[in-house]
């Protein structure tokens, strides 16, 4: 730790540069999350996806982002106009800043303050102002109420998500993102295996907080429903869409860091090396896998019939080859470069997998209306979150006092949490039945 007050400017330069790079790359990253979502939606739901411009419509979102920048501002009465215009920007900026503490591999992190996780959660709460102010500044009473109800839902979900995260923080003993990952390396286990219930609560809470699967967007802005509305909507409403996708990535990053081992590769404590070199055996696996995939897609280029399929296969092959080569070359450069490149690869892969699950749930489960979601959140998820916290704390104390392996105590804790969850769900269900009977 450096001493307080002394700020060395040269030390801040690389992080400032990475900050700049991240901000410039983000809108595109967000856009391609949307692109991938459309691809998955197509596969699962038989929905059409955009195919132009560019191969596969890959350039579509570049154009979309440019269109946002050059779009038309919407008019509003002068009185509330400023707040009305600022609100979505607040939502977007609050979501964007979360990236600053994302540990994308040991080398790529803009900053790692000792309260990193709390910092991101605070920003999430700040984003709610974006919703509330918009409602406040919009004219109609019904619209304002929709925004308020929406904000109520978001804060409820965030409380649940934070409760889920607590069990992970409890095991890590730190709020700094880098140290949380380090703790998982030291304990030789991703925390999802110690506190699966906590992970599930975070998954449910964060998904519901983000308009994704279950909640409808504020009814006033029906044009926000898809990123494809970007082109038609007037500024600054599209900022909400951007903020939404940014939050998806941030939430996936938090889950990856706290529960899924961050930049660690699977079986990170298995460190056997190839004889005679410094290369670890398991680090070769992703290289071989990526190159193999590249070869697979390359062969598909010829077997496909239509031009579009050929382009798709060629693009996939190119991406896989690039990733495989980057991973492979980094093995031979130096230990630091290897750790940086492989860390970023694993982090990206896990975040991608998490986002895939998000989209998967969105397009396969039925949508739940807001009242029902809130009822289940406050009656089941949040109490179970508290139970999970208590049982996890008991498991940690049990390991400390009796010397039983952590694996055993956490399994007992998870079973207890599940039992409480089932009981609460049954209780809530029987209560609802009683009410229905009384109603009749």
């Amino acid at each position: 730790m450096d001493s307080f007050g002394l700020i060395s400017l040269p030390a801040a330069v690389p992080s400032a540069l990475s900050a700049m790079g991240a901000v410039l790359a983000l809108p595109l990253l967000v856009a391609y999350t949307a692109f991938i979502e459309r691809r998955i939606a197509e596969a699962m739901d038989e929905r059409a996806r955009p195919v132009t411009p560019g191969a596969l419509g890959l350039l579509r979102y570049v154009a979309r982002i440019a269109r946002v920048g050059l779009g038309q501002d919407e008019g509003q009465a002068e009185l509330r106009r400023r707040i009305f215009a600022m609100a979505p920007a607040i939502a977007l900026v609050a979501a964007l800043i979360g990236y600053a503490v994302m540990p994308v591999g040991p080398a790529f992190q803009v900053a790692d303050p000792n309260v990193g996780l709390l910092f991101i959660l605070g920003l999430g709460a700040l984003g709610i102002y974006g919703v509330l102010l918009r409602g406040e500044a919009s004219a109609g009473g019904r619209i304002a109420m929709d925004f308020v109800n929406h904000a109520a839902q978001v804060v409820s979900c965030q409380a649940a998500a934070a409760l889920g995260l607590l069990s992970g923080v409890l095991l890590a003993g730190s709020l700094a993102m880098g140290q949380i990952v380090q703790a998982q390396l030291d304990q030789g286990q991703w925390f999802i295996f110690y506190v699966p219930a906590g992970f599930f609560i975070y998954f449910v809470g964060s998904m519901a907080a983000m308009n994704r699967a279950t909640a409808e967007l504020p009814a006033a802005d029906a044009d926000l429903f898809s990123v494809d509305a970007l082109a038609d909507a007037t500024l600054p409403a599209p900022f909400y869409v951007l903020a939404d996708y940014v939050s998806v990535i941030v939430v996936a990053g938090i889950a990856t860091t706290v529960f899924l081992g961050g930049w660690l590769r699977p079986m990170a404590s298995f460190r056997d090396r190839v004889p005679g070199t410094t290369i670890e055996i398991l680090d070769i696996v992703p290289v071989v896998a990526a190159l193999g995939l590249a070869l697979f897609w390359y062969r598909r280029v010829r077997s496909h019939r239509t031009e579009m399929q050929k382009k798709a296969a060629a693009t996939a092959s190119g991406i896989c080859a690039f990733v495989g080569l980057a991973l492979g070359i980094s093995l031979f450069v130096s230990a630091a470069v290897m750790a940086a490149v492989h860390g970023a690869f694993w982090f990206g892969l896990k975040v991608g997998g998490y986002i895939y699950c998000f989209v998967w749930v969105r397009f396969t489960l039925l949508q739940v209306e807001r009242e029902r979601l809130m009822r289940q959140l406050w009656r089941i998820v949040i109490p179970v979150g508290f139970v999970n916290l208590i049982t996890t704390a008991m498991a940690v104390v049990g390991t400390q006092d009796t010397g039983l392996p952590m694996r055993l105590t956490t399994i007992a804790a998870t079973v207890a949490t599940l039992g409480a969850g089932v009981w609460l769900a049954k209780y809530a269900g029987s209560e609802a039945e009683m009410q229905a009977a009384e109603g009749e």
Partner: protein
């Protein structure tokens, strides 16, 4: 460690610059039909303010606001507790049970009373 926050500050400024740039850019370079739209919007906004008035948020929102204030403060304090938990051991567990137990007892009582039916 204040220097840890300088990159975040730079990042925040850059992030804020993006929407500001978009808003200013759309002003400068966007299609010039703005004034027409503005006039129409103003008329519409005035209509809806005089007609519908501003409703108060429903009971659900206020109820959740009250619950949230209590619970979120609880949760935020717990983060600080969780960081130090490993050092405190069994004592920390007792602290948790007291700290969480009191609001949870109230929570269970409200639940039994059927107050959550308002949600």
């Amino acid at each position: 460690m204040p220097h840890a926050y300088i990159p975040i500050l730079i990042f925040a400024l850059l992030a804020a610059a993006f929407p500001v740039f978009c808003l200013v850019g759309s002003r400068r370079f966007g299609p010039a039909t703005l004034e027409k739209i503005e006039a129409a919007e103003e008329a519409r906004v005035e209509d809806s303010t005089t007609e519908a008035g501003r409703e108060k948020p429903g009971t659900m929102a206020s109820f959740i606001a009250a619950l949230f204030v209590i619970l979120s403060v609880e949760v935020v304090f717990l983060f600080a507790w969780a960081v130090k938990f490993a050092e405190m051991g069994g004592y920390g567990l007792i602290l948790l049970l007291i700290f969480v137990g009191i609001p949870l007892a109230g929570y269970a009582w409200l639940y039994k009373k059927g107050v959550f039916d308002a949600i």
